[in-house]
């Protein structure tokens, strides 16, 4: 990739020291790099400086003499002379702090920020020690809820604009702003328009005082009692770096860590508050086995494990299968895969559940993009699920690339996505007609596609490619990737959503892959592994769907569910349930009971997120340490790999570009289903996290206005949505952003999962007035 030229260096003098620094960098940054900390409140390295709080005043020599200036937004210039500690600077710092404290309450003993508060710390370090202000301080009603999660204590606010700048600049949903003027200025939402941002928790983290607090942590602990360890978020596969903070052996808070390779310190609220599920009272604590009456009863580990061992020993190896493992570490996945292949002797292993992309495609595609490539791309192609819903921290990176790094964005999706407002070109298509879109893009004849085509052929392209919805044929992603790889300077980042799904694939939890991305069909690769593990099955295994089919047909008899719920996550809930019922023996490893494992023979409770230690592999192949000791930036995976394991060797598959879509399922002439995921779905961990459970949206079916009028349906009318696998009763929402001829049903909300994932649906006005609960 073309490296950017190194910045020009200039010589400046800071506190009498002559130094070479990059031209254009701000004084506050170069001073910090040289070890001189200039106090600040409003400055944040990931946001544009505004010079609002005035805390970073330094003295700079100018033709008009020595002047105080803000270090956060003054770029260095040749021959500049800066003094950060002069008597004038110190007097200025004391003055600013005395001003800030005029209206800031001294309630530090009851303030959540006390102990880790920049205002408190810097008052001690740079403050005047006492105040001349004897009048009464300002009072506000407190606290004001800005949203279901974030609360505002206005009298503590020092008006640094970090939160408002974050919401405008970084997350792009400026729902909070300054209101009023002078002494009465405060930050608030518009009446009845709450701060309903997927990223609202970041404002709490970057607030330099205790003005913004989040409900899950408010009054829960004091910072000096917290034990913090560095880890990786498993909410999605982007591998965001986090700090897990515990008090008295309970997780009370998660903060972001600034990792240049992944999340820049930002997290989604799901990343931040999902820990509540770990503390849930509904977690399984003892092994459960089914008694003679058919009920699950707690028992001892010995009894439960004996039953599992008996079941595994009573059938042939290839009658055993395993689904899941994407919430586990690489080490756990490796151990599971080794056990299944070399001890049980089964090839039927699948880490993916309902939204499976071809594992060979996921691990093998090359040249593969890193997340950082977004910063350098001329054009970004997103043909995947709505990143804001499925990969929120990756969404922020794409947003930054477009708004600040000059990348042009092309979005292809069956409906409006969170990125549409930034897109230079957007193509909306009916689910099932993806191959047609690829053909038109490649041919370039269609005027509607001219803008997108021009952008895609203009310069280096980074393509994010995944399933746009659960009803999409997984082969489409391969067709799109094959097209994208023919574009100039193209790199592809294949997207699969679940936490450590890429680690699972790397460790061989796939029907076609052995550990190390070696195809099962590679004789030499298997022989090498057999020299270490002993004999292994040589067949290509069944994927999750085929495992369920095998259970129903009696060819698979024993099933391991490793944190998986195929009833909710598969295409057909009824047949998945029937398959599980037909199994001789189902053992589930899980934190909670769910729709699949409540009929299992044995349920084994497992450690959850933040309780296990190991490594996790993200969507780009970056291996990071989860929990304790080693951290992402110290992990070395070999020279010039930068922690990212790039595909090489026998894992790479030749992808053929098939312009006709090569058998991609067609939905012509019928109402195609778009089953897109939403961030706060009714998944177990969301439902078990009180802060997030309240945010799960109401289910509905979204129809294009013309389709709705053709069916004589109006907004909020209750309809029966029927597909191949089931039916569900939902209210109608009219949605002009949808492709005509399709119906959008958000995946896995309370009730919508019962529809399963058919290709097409029929919609009829319901006789019932109310939506069935």
């Amino acid at each position: 990739m073309p490296e950017r030229p190194p910045p020009e260096m200039v010589t400046i003098t800071i506190d009498g020291r002559e130094v070479e620094v990059p031209q254009g960098e701000y004084i506050i940054k170069v001073a910090e790099d040289l070890g001189t900390y200039i106090p600040r409140f409003c400055y944040h390295p990931r946001m544009t400086p505004v010079g609002l709080c005035r805390m970073c005043l330094v003295e700079v020599e100018t033709p008009r003499g020595r002047l105080l200036t803000t270090a956060c937004n003054t770029p260095v210039a040749p021959e500049m002379i800066v003094d950060t500690e002069s008597a004038v600077v110190q007097k200025a710092q004391e003055g600013i702090l005395e001003f800030l404290l005029i209206n800031h309450p001294l309630d530090c003993p009851v303030c959540d920020k006390g102990g880790e508060c920049p205002l408190q710390d810097q008052t001690v370090a740079y403050g005047p020690g006492e105040s001349r202000f004897v009048e009464e301080k300002r009072h506000f009603e407190k606290p004001i809820p800005l949203s279901d999660i974030v609360l505002m204590d206005r009298e503590r606010c020092i008006l640094c604009a970090r939160c408002t700048r974050f919401s405008e600049e970084v997350s792009g949903d400026p729902l909070i702003e300054f209101v009023g003027r002078g002494n009465q200025t405060h930050v608030i939402t518009f009446p009845d328009e709450p701060f309903a941002s997927y990223f609202s928790g970041n404002t709490v983290e970057i607030c330099p005082v205790g003005a913004l607090t989040a409900k899950p942590y408010r009054f829960k602990a004091r910072p000096w009692d917290l034990e913090a360890i560095e880890s990786v978020s498993m909410v999605d596969a982007s591998g965001a770096s986090i700090s897990i903070e515990t008090s008295q052996n309970e997780v009370v808070r998660i903060n972001g860590i600034d990792n240049d390779a992944t999340n820049h310190g930002w997290l989604s609220d799901k990343d931040r508050f999902i820990f509540q599920a770990v503390n849930s009272e509904n977690r399984l604590t003892a092994p459960l086995v089914r008694d003679d009456a058919g009920n699950l009863q707690p028992t001892s580990w010995g009894e439960a494990l004996d039953r599992v061992a008996d079941a595994l020993g009573s059938v042939r190896g290839d009658e055993v299968a395993s689904i899941g493992g994407a919430n586990n570490t690489n080490e756990e996945a490796f151990a599971l895969g080794k056990f299944l292949r070399s001890v049980v002797m089964t090839p039927h292993i699948d880490v993916q559940v309902g939204d499976a992309l071809n594992p060979d495609f996921l691990v093998g595609i090359t040249p593969r993009a890193e997340i950082r490539d977004l910063d350098r791309a001329a054009t970004i192609l997103v043909w995947a699920g709505d990143l804001k819903e499925e990969f929120p921290t990756l969404y922020l990176r794409v947003r930054r690339a477009v708004t600040q790094m000059g990348a042009k964005l092309v979005v292809v999706h069956p409906r409006r996505t969170g990125l549409d407002d930034l897109a230079a070109a957007k193509i909306t298509y009916r689910p099932g007609e993806g191959p047609e879109v690829v053909r038109k893009l490649a041919a370039g004849a269609d005027a509607d596609y001219a803008a997108a085509r021009e952008l895609l052929t203009a310069g280096s392209v980074t393509a994010l490619i995944g399933l746009t919805g659960r009803a999409e044929d997984p082969r489409l992603a391969e067709v799109v990737a094959a097209y994208a790889l023919d574009l100039p300077g193209a790199k592809v980042l294949p997207l699969a959503r679940r936490g450590n799904v890429f680690g699972g694939l790397d460790m061989g939890l796939a029907p076609t892959l052995l550990p190390g991305r070696v195809p099962v069909t590679s004789e030499s690769g298997r022989a090498e592994l057999e020299s270490a593990w002993g004999p292994l099955p040589d067949a290509v295994g069944r994927d999750a769907a085929a495992i369920l089919a095998g259970l129903a047909e009696g060819e698979v008899k024993v099933l391991l569910l490793v944190g998986a719920d195929p009833v909710r996550d598969g295409r057909n809930p009824d047949s998945a349930r029937a398959a599980l019922a037909a199994a001789d023996f189902v053992v589930s490893f899980d934190m909670f009971l769910n729709d699949s494992n409540q009929h299992a023979a044995v349920v084994l409770p497992v450690d959850g997120f933040a309780e296990t230690e190991g490594t996790v592999t993200n969507v780009e192949g970056r291996v990071q340490k989860a929990y304790r000791s080693m951290t992402w930036d110290r992990l070395v995976w070999g020279p010039e790999r930068d922690g990212v394991v790039m595909p090489d060797g026998p894992g790479i598959q030749e992808l053929q570009y098939t312009p006709d879509g090569g058998g991609v399922r067609s939905t012509a002439g019928r109402l195609a289903l778009h089953s897109g995921r939403v961030l706060y779905d009714a998944g177990t961990r969301n439902v078990q996290s009180p802060a997030l459970a309240a945010l799960v949206p109401d289910p509905a079916v979204y129809l294009h206005p013309r389709d709705a009028s053709a069916l004589a349906l109006t907004d909020s009318q209750v309809v029966d949505v029927t597909g191949e696998f089931g039916a569900v009763r939902l209210p109608v929402r009219i949605d002009a952003t949808l492709a005509e001829g399709s119906a959008y049903v958000p995946a896995n909300l309370e009730s919508t999962w019962m529809l399963g994932v058919p290709d097409v649906v029929t919609i009829e006005a319901s006789s019932a007035e109310e939506v069935a609960e």
Binding site: E177, R181, F190, D192
Partner: protein
């Protein structure tokens, strides 16, 4: 949502003014302040609905529009009487008896400073300098300036407003009947006046000269 559908409930002339305003600036958000006056004129004062409409017209969020609106005291976010009486209490007017003027206005209108009279006829406020120090004490009626308004003149002015209830108030007419010393006697004559407690500006203004409501 198209601009037309956002403000479909506005009067036809105000819809046309909004359309012209949005065309005036290269960036739609630049039109936010004149549009806020227009929304005030349309709804009588700047309602939450009005701010949301302006947000939709300019591509901002309602919170951002509220931030602008709340910074400026001339965007009234509560009911305003038919006549807004603004009494200057800055230094020149203060030294020449602005307190007495304000008291006289309060007595005559029955509206205390910062409130609206029960009958909805008057809103009274004290304001910072309105640029008429040479003609102090000065008062504005719906932002139409009257200078040299001594307390008894102020009482008479309010009485006249209540009794005649004029559709349009004009600086020159009020100055003649109720004013005293003027800052600039050589100023050109004002042909237009205000029809509502919203400042009258240029082509979109609320002046009687362009389009009386």
């Amino acid at each position: 949502m198209s601009a037309a559908s956002v403000i479909a409930d506005w009067s036809a002339p105000n819809q046309e003014r909004a359309r012209r305003l949005l065309e005036t600036y290269p960036e739609e958000r630049s039109a936010v302040m004149p549009l806020l006056y227009l929304a005030s004129l349309e709804h009588g004062y700047l309602t939450s609905a009005g701010m949301t409409q302006v947000a939709q017209l300019t591509g901002l969020t309602s919170a951002q529009v509220q931030s602008v609106a709340s910074f400026y005291t001339m965007f009234k976010r509560d009911h305003v009487g038919r006549y807004l009486i603004s009494v200057c209490t800055s230094i020149s007017c203060y030294l020449l008896g602005a307190d007495d003027v304000l008291a006289a206005v309060e007595t005559e209108t029955t509206a205390r400073d910062g409130t609206t009279s029960v009958d909805g006829a008057f809103t009274v406020e004290h304001v910072e300098c309105i640029g008429a120090c040479g003609g102090a004490p000065a008062v504005q009626v719906n932002y139409e300036l009257v200078e040299g308004v001594l307390p008894e003149k102020a009482t008479a002015l309010c009485k006249w407003l209540r009794e005649t209830s004029p559709d349009v108030v004009m600086t020159d007419a009020m100055q003649k009947s109720f004013g005293g010393v003027r800052s600039f006697d050589w100023g050109i004559g004002e042909e237009q006046g205000a029809v509502a407690p919203v400042p009258a500006f240029g082509p979109y203004g609320s002046t009687g000269g362009e389009s009386a409501r």
